[in-house]
């Protein structure tokens, strides 16, 4: 074992023991918690602890995945399981403080359950809940538990063991073999075997090579990359360093979309701490291996998540995809060989190296090893971020984990069923109810005409109009086109106009012919995936929900009535003179 690392680990264990001997209050401060006021709750808790002079520490953690229950506050007394309070408001703070100061177990507030030990007072165990039971947490193992701003917390739970093991006992080739054994495949959408991708970079000439980490994640309804970075940035930092070691790269960028403040700040802090602990920088842990890592930002642009556009953006240029070849492994960022991986992909690397590729390949289904990190949204009971092993059906995910379509809303009982699914981001298309039988793995999903993509799943119940949903998706895709290649720039504009027309009852049967003409030109002719897949939402919706379209066009009505209430219409699809940016205006 590496001596430097051993010292670090002892420090971490010591800190962990100190923490365990006191009362810990964790407040979920992912974007899900922050948006419902968790920061204020944390601040008040800290104030009370101070004013009551309690022997307790309150600190922020990331998102544990149960976003529907935020703000989540949990109390862990020495030797006891964590007790989770859900949907905490400022009114509950007194009670939480009282629990500690009086050392009582009288719960009156809304308790979600306990985690990490036997049940107390007959409270439900989170481990037994369907939301948790079906999960296999690898990349998100520390999310919601560790303080993301504290590297020692991460080390105390086995962090950086993988990196330490790799650089002190393994050769780069052995690391790549281990990853090959694990069967890890890219989680960005293409599901390309990661070890092979790393192999491309190994063969490129040095000395400067780059590992790029993609956290653009602009898909509506996807937040797992951001979730990992804001809850446990070190798992990515370690993963990136392992990738650097395995490929001979000496530099890296974590590319985060401007405005994702939680992930940006915590990743930056994490990188800073890793540098201080000599887990990044020159001669990591006393070895010959050096690796620089930096956070790069770009303005909001969906297309900058495309790997070549991302490189342009890192170089400070307009985020527009480059044409390939040359491929990034030959000519990447700043003209140097580069390897791009998704946050999720690299976040598996530490555990794969620590526990071995065999262990990882035992999880999952067929060629899809490991887990999928899903973001469940829309008309479901328990929206949140869940990590499940491949091989269960989408139906199980929707019905069991996320609880299916909500039964109650504002006290009224609803009788709703799941009508459609939208997976893999707006370009991924719309699936019908029959797809609930599809197995969750790369091959089965592809066969069903869907992609796992970013891992976002939006569920629509029978009040959702397919035309309306597709109109929204296409409006998004249109707005997010970079405007470089002609088919995408012009095609998207026409498609969104046609859908606007249909949804407002002005469609004509001719539009059924028009859409595929434009769509096929886009699919065949576009420069990057954005345009090539840009017709997916419409083509899949036409396949599964052609009836919805027919009713709109032929009967001039919306079957669910939702199209009548379209309050958000895109107003800027073509250049207009009143914009300040155009000359003469």
């Amino acid at each position: 074992m590496n001596k430097q690392f051993e010292i670090l680990r002892q420090k971490a264990t010591k800190r962990n023991e100190d923490l365990k001997s006191t009362v810990q209050i964790r407040v979920g401060l992912g974007i899900c918690g922050e948006s419902v006021g968790a920061l204020e709750i944390l601040n008040q808790l800290k104030d009370r602890i101070k004013s009551h002079d309690l022997s307790a520490v309150a600190y922020e953690v990331g998102c544990i995945g149960l976003c529907y229950a935020e703000p989540l506050v949990d109390i862990q007394k020495p030797g006891e399981p964590r007790i989770f309070f859900q949907n905490v408001t400022e009114d509950n703070i007194d009670e939480i403080i009282k629990l500690i100061s009086e050392n009582s177990n009288n719960f009156t507030g809304s308790v979600l359950g306990t985690l990490g030990g036997p049940s107390i007072n007959g409270l439900p165990q989170i481990e037994e809940m369907t939301q948790w039971k079906y999960q296999t947490r690898i990349a998100t193992r520390n999310c919601g538990t560790n303080n993301p701003n504290e590297i020692l917390d991460y080390i105390s739970t086995g962090g950086y063991e993988g990196l330490s093991k790799a650089i002190s006992t393994m050769s780069p080739e052995e690391v790549r073999n281990e990853v090959a054994t694990s069967g890890l495949r890219g989680r960005g959408g293409a599901a390309f075997p990661t070890a092979i991708k790393w192999g491309f970079l190994v063969n490129s000439p040095g000395p400067d090579k780059y590992i790029l980490v993609n956290c653009e994640e602009g898909d509506p309804g996807a937040y797992n990359d951001k979730g990992i970075l804001e809850s446990d940035p070190h798992t990515l930092i370690e993963g990136a360093a392992i990738a650097g070691f395995a490929t001979g790269a000496n530099k890296g960028y974590v590319f985060i979309r401007h405005g994702h403040n939680g992930p940006i700040e915590r990743t930056r802090e994490g990188i800073k701490q890793a540098y201080e602990a000599n887990l990044l920088g020159d001669n990591i842990l006393g070895s010959d291996f050096s690796f620089e890592l930096e956070v790069a930002l770009v303005g909001e642009s969906y297309v900058s998540g495309e790997e070549t556009a991302l490189m342009e953006a890192i170089e400070g240029k307009r985020a527009m995809p480059r044409s390939r070849p040359p491929f990034p492994a030959a000519v990447g960022v700043f003209g140097k060989p580069s390897n791009i991986n998704n946050v999720k992909t690299l976040s598996y690397a530490p555990e794969i190296i620590r526990k071995g590729g065999e262990w990882f390949s035992g999880i999952g289904y067929g060629r899809s090893t490991g887990t999928a990190i899903l973001c469940l949204n829309g008309n479901v009971k328990f929206p949140g971020m869940y990590e499940v092993a491949f091989g269960i059906t989408i139906g199980q995910v929707v019905e069991k984990i996320s609880g299916g379509a909500p039964e109650k809303w504002n006290g009224a009982t609803l009788h709703r069923t799941v009508k459609l699914l939208q997976t893999g981001g707006p370009l991924g298309g719309v699936l019908g109810r029959e797809s609930l039988e599809t197995l969750l793995d790369f091959e089965s999903m592809a066969a069903a005409g869907a992609i796992l993509g970013s891992g976002g799943i939006i569920v629509g119940d029978d009040t959702v109009c397919a035309v309306d949903l597709v109109r929204n998706l296409v409006a998004f895709c249109q707005f997010e086109s970079c405007g470089k290649c002609f088919p995408c720039r012009l095609g998207m504009t026409h498609l969104v106009e046609v859908l606007e027309r249909i949804s407002s009852g002005n469609g004509s049967p001719n539009d059924f012919k028009l859409m595929p003409i434009v769509g096929n030109a886009m699919a065949q002719g576009s420069l990057c995936g954005h345009g090539q897949l840009g017709f997916n939402p419409i083509s899949s919706a036409l396949r599964y929900f052609g009836e919805d379209f027919r009713i709109h066009i032929e009967e001039n009505r919306c079957p669910t009535g939702s199209c009548i209430a379209t309050f958000h219409r895109p107003t800027r699809t073509r250049p207009i003179a009143s914009s300040g940016w155009y000359p003469g205006s």
Binding site: C485, L514, T573, W581
Partner: protein, 915 residues
Amino acid sequence: MQENQEIKLTIDGKEVTAQPGQTVIQAAMDAGIYIPYLCYWPGMKPYGACRMCVVEVEGQRGTPASCTLPAANGMVVNTSPSEVEGLRNNILELLLSEHPHGCLTCHRIELCGPQDICLRHVRVTDRCVVCPKNERCELKDTVRYSNMNMETPLTYNYRNLPIHTNDPFYDRDYNLCIVCARCVRVCDEIRGDSAISLIERSGTVLVGTSHGSSLLESGCEFCGACVDVCPVGALVEREHKWDKALKTIPTTCTHCSVGCQVNLEVDSKGEVIRSIGNWEAKANIGQLCFKGKFGMEFINSKERIKSPLLKDENGYKEISWDEATNIIGKKLKNYSGDKFSLLLGPKVTNEDAYIAQKFSRIIMQSNNIDMATPYGDSLVRKLEESIGNMAGSGSLQELENSECAIVFNANITEQHNVAAIPLKKGRQQQTLNLIVIDPREVELTRYANIWLRPNPGTENLLLKGILSEIISNNWQDDEFINKNVTGFEELKDSINNINIDDISVLTGVPLEDISKTAESFASSFSSAILYSLDNIPSTQTTNTVELISNLTLVAGNLGKPYSGIFPLRSGTNEQGGMDVGCHPEFLPGYKSVSNKENIEYFENAWGTDNLPAHPGFKASDALTAMQSNTIQAAILIGDSPLYNDDAIHALSHLDFLVVQEMFLTDLASTADIILPMTSFAEQNGTYTNLERRIQKINLAVSPRGESRTPSQFINELANEMQSSIQFSNENPIDIFDEIKNIMDIYSQINIADLGNDGIQWPCNEESPNGTSIMYEKGFTNKKGILFSIDPEKAPLQSKEFPFLHIPGRILFDPNTDIEIVLSGRKNAISREEAIEFHPDDAKSLSIAPGDSVEISTPYSVKYGKARLTGTLKGAVSSTALFGELVTEMDKSSDLEPTLRLSTLDIMPARIKKIT
């Protein structure tokens, strides 16, 4: 080495050979196979946006764009299977849904003119026939090629954006823009300016400036490269906007000594309507500057002098050429010998210059013959002593690959614009270490890795500092020096007395920068120095050139690629004129008049027996000699920036003055007889540029009125004065033959072979294909000479004007607020001038930041707000914007506005605080 082997592939069933690195579209174009394209442009990086050039590759999936697809061995490409054609047509349909194309769907398209009433009532904005690029439109050509049926289910949408017509020189109509981004890319990739960019995104994407500002403040240098590459009517020159070209004549630009190759478009009225850069030419690789692109209107001017004019008591009266030559011939007979001078403007051709010097020497017995340019031969005279040739030693456009380049006291982006492009490119690729030495802030200082800003008047001191740093650190190229150079030990001794710390203090340049410059210049594999003499006092210029020559030799920067010494000659054909003997000391081919053998050789060659054998007056000295009546008669051919008010005053002392000019300028109106001269577009001949490149100028339009070329005039005059012998030929080709017969360095040039690239002299038996890099085999018959160093001269300031005013000019300045105001219908920049003071000076003048101050120089007065950001003591600087210069040129009432654009002269100045 498999990489360097040729690639064999099949395109449309034809075996095609491609070079490594070529894309499929390039291979196809070379093989004469057409693949339609809209965003691709030869000479720029592949972009892959328009998707017009999609092809099918057997065994590959999808339809890759051939402009981004590297050619590979064994590839089988089909350019137009039906699937690809269908895709192309679909994309074209999409494109036409927002590009006006009314006439394309009309069966009368061949019959209809712009003035005709449209029978189909297509809106005027949707008609092709009223588009300025009608029949020059690449989109239209592509649609016609595609053979698509023009029925589409897509709705047509006209953007209805206002057209931008207020900026100088060219109009922007973004209703016609197809967003191929050629203009954006040429501005960024080739010019290094990035004045325009793509704005917005998706369906709203367009080309524009940052924040929609005017081009004047966007950093545009008005080179017109974007206009040249625009495939549609979005960007068009404002002059002759709708005019159609009848023919296109390739020729050489007349505005500076870079010698850009341009294609002049001529319309049916015989007017030059457009000039377009020639992308095949080595001198400029398709690029032009604001002068070459938009400064050709003078050719068509109605103000051109149409017939010879004789001065009488009522002003001027028209006379015939015969009368004129007759009067001139009679008059000049009285002024033979040193009383006569012949000065040539820098725009005369080699042939004209040759005939002129021959006339002056044989008929007038005078060596008072010179090219009239501001610096004259002082820019290069010392080079003849040190390295043997008064010319640039390499090729400018290749400097893109240099590792280090010094630009010394030259406002290169304005005076030799296209020569700055390789430097900017090298900077962009981060392979070039660009060092600018100039007290003024000019455009290139902003590109520089190091900007050495010496106190005005201490430039030579700074050069000495650099030289001494090289030698004291042993950075010199010893191998080169031992082999090729004499005088190194003496130079080393004279360096010993130099104290580099003193130099740093006196020049105001940090020691570190001097040292870095010295190291980079001497140690880089390839270093070049480009210099002019802007603001160097005339007493110091010799010294400056000596030092620059020393630097080049000590660093061993001659005889290898991407290196060399480049005197930035101010006159267009100054180089050629001197080559062919327009020099008071040199006969054609730089043969000294003081050498008896040379005189005999030329007496033989010209069939005469008494050539004058003592050096004559240089142009600047000749003007002084006119004032003292030493010179009493002169012929001036062509205007020059040298002829300022003082010079014109000197000319008025002459007994008899003949001026051959295009316009009735101040210069012309001092003459006794004015003769109409052809412009460069109205004659054949050759120019030699500053890199020794001999290039053709071709007759594009017929001479205006009775204009004649200088050689026609001189020939007739010679025959008039000495009717016994045939003086010379009139045909430029025959004159050139005469030149090459007597001049070794031109001897192997065949004028018919001068293509786009021209030929760089020496082109003789040793190097029949010309010489792009001189001194590769060392210095032909002697060693390069190093000069020892002189003591320093006094600086410029006088008592009356205790300060110096340093003007600067840059493309854009993000630090000052600019307002664009409309003057007439044109945009103009309105902003408060910022005057930069050194904090110490400000203190002694009790000037606080923001105070209003008045700066008066002997020639001008300036007002502005004080800033304490200056770095030079005893000097104030103010920086103007290039947009102001362009506006000046655009609005100028000058007949040839490019000739006397304001330059950046450092002036003694007085400062007054305004309360």
